[in-house]
Each structure stands twice: as structure tokens, then as C-alpha cells.
């Protein structure tokens, strides 16, 4: 029954990856920024949820909500304190802005990681799941929490899709990712659009972080690997393509889960990494990449 186990676990983990990756690629698509503090934001949300419910006595629902809010705030602070100043800076030539933003967000991520380790130690923490219990399906036992995780992820993904394709504000975001100049011509301030995109990203990263904390637990050491897997997925799917990230997340999620079960957990990351290398050389724009 290992096949079914892989199917279920892979599905949940992929959904989680997808949520994080879609936010990551949205930021890139609209503003061209690769946020290397992504993992730190997810861990912040998870640790905030854990601290709120385990240490400060809020209930698990309130704790989860606090975690998500922390993710949102973290993303906005990242934008205002790190990304926006570099973009505006007159001292940095245009061609080098990208590199500076990459280095700046990387440093910011390290700072957050160290703060978390300082205040809450670097031991792994698991956030209390909202739903307890186990489900038995064809001889395979999976925690209800896992199904819950997958469900919440997909609900959020559906909401995101509906927003971008149906809501007026969402369509403006989509248009901005295609042509920022066009959107300015129509009277939309790109500044406000950036803030909106970072806020959405913060919510996505926050939810993904809290769910991850409930499902697998996090520690300050998770920061690096989380960022690495998010951008591997985003590059595979195609920088800027939200649908591409979704597909790539499932490819990577299943590759990792299958490898962990069939070969060894220690080798989990290798097939996905090799796939990434192959794609980089054969089709650098990824599955569905545009830019």
C-alpha cells in the first residue's frame, strides 16, 4: 500500500509547496523580485502560531490566525524596509538592482532566522493541529490534519485563481504582471499595486507557513531549504507563471515523496534537483515561463 501512501502524502506536501511557490512567483511576475527571505517568512508565521498557542495561551484557532497575520506583516516589512529602498536607490545602477535585491533579501532572511533562533531557540516546533485524529483509507492511515492541510491549500488556491481571473482588482494585478507600463497608462499607481501584491504574498506565505508548522513542524534551520525548494519549483514552473508553479509543485512534491518512500529520506531532494539542472540547460524558461 505504499503506492497509496505516496499518493496521499505527495498530494498534501505538493499542495503546501504550491501555495508557497505561487506567492513567490506572483511577486516575481509583477515586480521582478526573487524574494530570498521567503523561507524566513514562512517560518516566522509558523513560529508565531506556535508561540501564540503554546506559549502565550491563545487557542489553536487564534494562534493560527496570529501566525497568518505575522506572515502578512513580515511580507510588508520586507517590501518597505528592504525591497522598495533598493528599487528607489539612485546610487545603484539599474543593471545591478536585481543582484542587490537578491543579496538584500537573503541577508534579511538570515536576520529573521537568527532572531527566531535567539528568541525561541532552534529546536523544531510543531504547531498544534486544528484537527486531530486519523483517517483510515484502504489500509492506509493518514492524520486528519494532512487532509485538512491539502483542503485548505486548495481552497486558497481556488480563491486566488478566482480573484486573479474574475475580480476587477485581480485582473489589474494580472495585467500588471504582463505590462506594468500599460497599467500605469490606465491610471493605476504601480506603487499601490506592489503593496497589494506583497500583502497577498504575505497571506499566502503565512497560511503555508502555519499549515507546514502543523503538518511537519519547523525550526529556524528550515529557512534555507524552504527558500531553496520554493525557488526550484518556481524556476521549474517558469518564472512568473502562477499555473506553472502549481504544476511544478506537484512534480517536485511527488518526486520527493516517492524518493523518500522508495529509496531513502536522505536522498529526497536529489531527483528534483537533477530535474532542475536539466531544465535549466534545456529549457531555462521552465514549463510555462514567459519572461
Amino acid at each position: 500500500m505504499i503506492g497509496l501512501q505516496i499518493l496521499v502524502d505527495g498530494f498534501a506536501i505538493s499542495a503546501l509547496y504550491a501555495l508557497g511557490a505561487m506567492g513567490f512567483t506572483l511577486i516575481f511576475g509583477v515586480s521582478g523580485v526573487l524574494n530570498l527571505s521567503h523561507g524566513a517568512l514562512m517560518v516566522t508565521a509558523a513560529v508565531a502560531a506556535w508561540a501564540a498557542s503554546a506559549q502565550y495561551g491563545f487557542g489553536s484557532y487564534a494562534g493560527a490566525a496570529i501566525g497568518v497575520v505575522c506572515g502578512l506583516l513580515g511580507a510588508l516589512v520586507t517590501y518597505f524596509a528592504v525591497v522598495a529602498p533598493i528599487e528607489r536607490s539612485k546610487a545603484i545602477p539599474r543593471a545591478e538592482k536585481e543582484i542587490f535585491i537578491l543579496t538584500g533579501t537573503l541577508l534579511w532572511g538570515i536576520m529573521i532566522q537568527q532572531l527566531v533562533a535567539y528568541f525561541y531557540t532552534d529546536n523544531p516546533k510543531t504547531v498544534l493541529p486544528l484537527i486531530e485524529g486519523v483517517v483510515e483509507l484502504a489500509g492506509v492511515r493518514t492524520p486528519r490534519n494532512e487532509w485538512f492541510t491539502a483542503l485548505v491549500c486548495w481552497v486558497v488556491i481556488a480563491l486566488l485563481w478566482a480573484f486573479v481571473n474574475k475580480a476587477r482588482a485581480g485582473k489589474v494585478l494580472l495585467a500588471a504582471s504582463m505590462n506594468p507600463r500599460g497599467v500605469t497608462l490606465l491610471g493605476h499607481d504601480m506603487g499601490r499595486i506592489y503593496i497589494a501584491v506583497w500583502a497577498i504574498y504575505g497571506l499566502l506565505a503565512g497560511i503555508a507557513g502555519v499549515l507546514l508548522g502543523m503538518f511537519l513542524g519547523v525550526s529556524s534551520y528550515s529557512v534555507g531549504p524552504l527558500t531553496a525548494s520554493a525557488f526550484s519549483i518556481v524556476v521549474l514552473g517558469g518564472l512568473g507563471s502562477v499555473t506553472g508553479s502549481l504544476i511544478a509543485a506537484y512534480v517536485v512534491g511527488y518526486l520527493e515523496t516517492a524518493t523518500a518512500y522508495l529509496v531513502s529520506p536522505a536522498y529526497r531532494v536529489i531527483p528534483a534537483l537533477l530535474l532542475l539542472v536539466a531544465v535549466m540547460y534545456l529549457r531555462p524558461q521552465g514549463f510555462l515561463g514567459r519572461r
Binding site: A91, F100, V269
Partner: protein
């Protein structure tokens, strides 16, 4: 345009002499710290040749360092070859690995090149863990031979290596070859129209950067007696190298050395803060990037040029 300008010698010489005299009055612990700092200085200077001049961001300098370090280390650990031979082999491995990475990667534009370099590091990291019976895995590799057990000797070797590397890298950056490299990095289209095969020059720069990084990596292994993922390959190490180069001033070569020494010294001074020390250094580096992007040396030369 001279290869090594006079004012450079005027300023650097007294500093180097003072540095050479340090072992006479300073503890072995500090000497050890500075020894590591000097090897890091070479990492950063080699990185700046690639970034500041060829205009290519290498997000995984530790890929090259790791190849040099583990190449030399494994040969010594497994086959007991002499140190100089191991160093040569390690450097060669780093150059070959660097070229294997660079030749296809330079065809990619935009953020993809940087991403490929980062992926190379992740791959190396995972391969080392997977083949742990050869490499020592996460625990690390120990080598039976070391260059010397005397702190002073190690210090002088590191200082000497850093000085020679710095001189060579600076000379390259100021030579006609360096001029072509700068043009190629700044505007490859115009450089092509002036008759320069841009790809050839960038690959050569990569090879030089790889050679110095690999050699320094090997030397560090034979200084510390060990090599491990955490000390030499982890992305955090790569980030420190990049920060050191940017902090000291990109496109100056020497800035990388200044930045590296500064970072290691700062990290040490802040050690009592515990894990917050990394936080403070990162915060300081971020502040430099935001407010003084030309770095420490950049400030000085800017005043001179304007």
C-alpha cells in the same frame, strides 16, 4: 595605466608589514582567526573578478571552493598523496568544474545564470551527503596531513598567499585583458562590435576565479585539517563571501580582502552575543547595501574621482 599603481603600494605596504609582524605580539587564537580571514579574502577577491569585472553574479562561489577543498582532501585522505599534488589536483578539479558550469550557463541571461550557480551548490552539497563514505558526509572529512602545526607559520603562509593572489588578481583587473573583461561585462554587444569574443573572455575569467577559489579551498583544508559542508559549502558561507566583496567595495578586488577581514573580525568581536552575532553582522551588511552600496573602498575612491 600601470598594473599596480604607486599609491596602492604606498598604502598597502605598511599594512602588510604590520600584518606580517603581528605574530610577534598577538595570541595564537587571533592568528588563527586572521589565517581563516586571509583565505576568505582570496575567496572574495576571486568573486569580485567575476562580478565586478565580468559582470556575472556567481551565487555559488562555494561550488568552486568545495570542489577544490574536497578534491584535495579526498586525495590526501584516501590515497595519502602529498599535499602539493593534492592542491594541484583540487585546483584542477575546481577549474574543470567551473568550466563545466560556466560554458552552458553563460548562454543564459538575466537571473537564470545566478540561479544555476546556486543550484550547483545545492547539488554539490547533496552529493557530498549522499556519497558520505568517500566524503565524510555531514560530519566532514579529516585529512592526515597538515601544512604546519605552528600558528605563526600557518599565518604567514596565509598572509603570503593572500598578498600574492591579491597582486595577481589586481594586475589582471588592471591589465588590457581586464579592460576587455570590464567592457564585456558592462555592454557585451558593444564589446562584440569592437572585435572581442565576449564568451571567451568571460569563460577565462571564470577559470581564473575557479583556480584561485579552488586553491584557497584546498589550502584551508590543509590548515584546519578538516573539511565539511557547514564550513565550506553551505549557502551561508557563499553569502558571507558575497557580502564581504560588496561590503569592501565591488570592482576593486582589494575591497574583497578588506570586507573579509572586517566580517571575520566583527563576527569575533560580537561572539559574546551568541547567535545574535550573525544577526548584527547581517544587519550591518544590509545597512551598507541600502545606504552605501559602493562599499567601504568605494567611498574612498569616489571621493578621489569626483
Amino acid at each position: 595605466m600601470s598594473l599596480i599603481p604607486a599609491r596602492f603600494i604606498l598604502i598597502a605596504l605598511p599594512i602588510l608589514v604590520a600584518a606580517a609582524l603581528l605574530p610577534l605580539g598577538v595570541s595564537g587564537y587571533i592568528l588563527g582567526l586572521l589565517t581563516i580571514a586571509y583565505y576568505f579574502a582570496v575567496f572574495s577577491m576571486a568573486w569580485d573578478l567575476l562580478f565586478g569585472f565580468a559582470g556575472e553574479v556567481n551565487f555559488g562561489p562555494t561550488f568552486l571552493i568545495g570542489l577544490g577543498a574536497y578534491g584535495a582532501g579526498i586525495l590526501n585522505n584516501r590515497y595519502g598523496l602529498d599535499i602539493p599534488l593534492c592542491l594541484l589536483a583540487g585546483t584542477a578539479l575546481a577549474v574543470i568544474g567551473g568550466l563545466a558550469l560556466a560554458v552552458p550557463a553563460l548562454k543564459l541571461s538575466g537571473p537564470y545564470f545566478g540561479l544555476v550557480t546556486l543550484v550547483a551548490v545545492l547539488l554539490l552539497q547533496n552529493l557530498i551527503v549522499v556519497f558520505s563514505d568517500l566524503t565524510g558526509g555531514e560530519i566532514g572529512l579529516t585529512v592526515p596531513d597538515v601544512i604546519s602545526i605552528d600558528a605563526d607559520t600557518n599565518y604567514w603562509i596565509a598572509l603570503g598567499f593572500m598578498t600574492v593572489s591579491g597582486l595577481i588578481l589586481t594586475a589582471i583587473s588592471r591589465s588590457p585583458a581586464g579592460l576587455i573583461l570590464q567592457a564585456a561585462g558592462q555592454d557585451p554587444v558593444v564589446a562584440g562590435a569592437l572585435g572581442f569574443n565576449v564568451a571567451k573572455h568571460k569563460i577565462a575569467a571564470f577559470a581564473v576565479s575557479a583556480a584561485f577559489s579552488g586553491l584557497a579551498g584546498g589550502l584551508i583544508v590543509f590548515y584546519m585539517g578538516t573539511a565539511s559542508v557547514g564550513t565550506l559549502i553551505d549557502t551561508s558561507v557563499g553569502v558571507q563571501i558575497i557580502i564581504a566583496a560588496v561590503l569592501g567595495g565591488r570592482r576593486t578586488i582589494v575591497g574583497g580582502a578588506l570586507g573579509a577581514v572586517f566580517l571575520i573580525a566583527a563576527g569575533e568581536l560580537l561572539r559574546p552575543l551568541g547567535s545574535l552575532s550573525t544577526f548584527v553582522v547581517s544587519a550591518a551588511a544590509l545597512a551598507v547595501i541600502l545606504f552605501v552600496p559602493t562599499g567601504l573602498l568605494g567611498l574612498a575612491s569616489f571621493r578621489r574621482a569626483s
